[in-house]
């Protein structure tokens, strides 16, 4: 639907402008806009506020961002974080809850459903108006949304998330790995805006990486791209234990982080490395020594930035994934 796409990208526009940009005749544009107004996907926008001209100003139309909502949810070992936005991507509410890392899969799914209901309620949004739900989960995810491998969520391997969550909203449920979605979230709303080749490192109790190439999530053959952390020589596997036991000096943490990040940087030569997750709250105390260590290990100094999205990168990436799905459906791109 070219007319809706034009209004989404470039609105508010007059009918004449719509016709020109969609390369359709003026009567065709008029019919299309009337139909979209009827369906609630387009609305008349506020009157033009510029200098006054002679005669009645032409009406202007825009994509109706309130025509529905998108949900995004980040499910990890220790927390669940849900976000709701309108179709323009404006976040309406955020809901966060801690969960027990030992939670069995059915209980974790129940906690996810509760979080989705809670965030919708907080925003005053009916779940029946949600057009798509994006889910970011730790573990390897196949193209159907099944978790094919999860090393640390009990019973999570084999969970088909679209099936488990399909009753919640009428729209589609789309699933991806959490680090990958965090990279997408940073590209959309964080420090990777305008940057297309990105390595995002989710560094907390566990460390994992997500990769964006050409502005798109790179998942690889098995959905396992970015899983550099499983190489034992990188030392990423037991950061949690080190942190818990208080064994890790900050130098040792930086060295371990840098080894895996360097392997990733040397492989894909990205424009920026973003450090997110709990460890990123250390800010420059972590970023600066990491930058120095990476410059030492890599061929070229790589730009290293701390995430500014706090713990919301994954959920925002999930919203972006959901919005991509909605836009694909609305604009008939898929």
């Amino acid at each position: 639907m070219a007319v809706l796409r034009v209004l989404h990208v470039a609105g508010p526009l007059t009918l004449t402008e719509v016709a020109a940009r969609a390369t359709v005749s003026r009567p065709t544009a008029e019919d299309a806009v009337a139909d979209l107004l009827n369906r609630g996907l387009v609305r008349e926008s506020a009157p033009y506020e510029g200098p006054r001209v002679v005669g009645r100003p032409a009406r202007r139309y825009e994509f109706n961002a309130d025509a529905g909502y998108a949900l995004g949810i980040d499910v990890g070992a220790h927390k669940i974080l849900a976000v709701v936005s309108d179709l323009g991507g404006d976040v309406r509410a955020t809901f966060r809850t801690d969960v027990d890392p030992e939670l069995a899969a059915p209980d974790r799914l129940a906690a996810m459903r509760a979080a989705l209901r809670a965030v919708a309620a907080e925003a005053g949004v009916n779940l029946s108006d949600v057009r798509a739900l994006g889910v970011g989960t730790s573990g390897i995810v196949d193209p159907t949304g099944k978790v094919t491998l999860s090393g640390h969520l009990p019973g999570w391997t084999g969970t088909h998330l679209p099936t488990e969550l399909s009753g919640i909203v009428p729209g589609r449920v789309v699933v991806a790995n959490d680090s990958n979605l965090a990279a997408l979230g940073e590209h959309w709303r964080g420090v990777a805006r305008g940057v297309d080749d990105v390595v995002y490192v989710l560094a907390g109790r566990r460390i994992s990486a997500g990769i964006l190439l050409g502005g798109r999530v790179h998942t690889g053959r098995h959905g396992a791209a970015g899983e550099i952390g499983i190489m034992r020589s990188m030392g990423w596997y037991d950061t949690a234990r080190l942190l818990r036991d208080g064994h890790a000096s900050s130098e040792e943490l930086v060295n371990r982080l840098a080894a895996g990040v360097a392997a990733t940087v040397l492989t894909i030569d990205p424009e920026v490395v973003i450090i997110g997750g709990g460890l990123s709250q250390a800010g420059d105390a972590l970023i600066e020594p990491l930058r120095i260590k990476l410059a030492d290990l890599c061929l070229y100094p790589v730009k290293v930035e701390a995430s500014t999205l706090a713990d919301r990168s994954v959920a925002l990436g999930a919203i972006r994934l959901a919005l991509d799905e909605v836009e694909r459906e609305l604009f008939d791109l898929g």
Copy 2:
């Protein structure tokens, strides 16, 4: 030029078929084909050999693969290998010469020019008919074709190859890193045909990697993608010394190779890993233990294949790069 593109992709075709596929009128197709025949880019093809039909069979036209030539050259520390093909990609001649690794840059460039003249002479091709020259070189190459970093060709860093070689042929000179071109060569003519996400490992006296994503060379921000070998922990840096001194057991070689390959595989999760270069001549004696070691280090068993292009992968990739350039010019895609 839609008509030429249609004939290149789908020829031989009758004028009616050309018009239909290029979505132009029959008279437009007729004019375009007449013009292309005049310019020598299209030729009438051999008569249709199928069942006889009543009446005079319609003439059929095809892209004229002899309308020019492409050159590809691979320049390394120990050898120079040049290939010439017609515009359809049929290889007409190959020329190989050993060079001294200590050769100064001007002498290496002179040896390249001599190799290009030799391969053209062997094929009976005039250098003035060469429409593009592709160059694969070791080291990091910037988008203009300058070698920004070469660790082991004396004086090579800073060499702007298009300038140095521009007098040889009238067409453009396009340059890329050798491992990247080898990946492209394997995608075009080797074991990666039909496979779009590829890691190619050039394993000989030195080891380096090239990456193909979505069927295209992935070079990265500085042209340094695939340079995993510079991480000392991978042990790739002194394979040459190990081999020379006879210190390397085959197990040690496999372990070193596997560490770097695993880091690359875990980062991008490719469909296949191709081992080329001198070591690949060991065939299954190398590939089989490498496969086993990689399955141990990675999340999923990755497909590992030995190159079947012997030492021609890079030069064939260079030809493909040159043909891409020619096709872009001919079809006005750029």
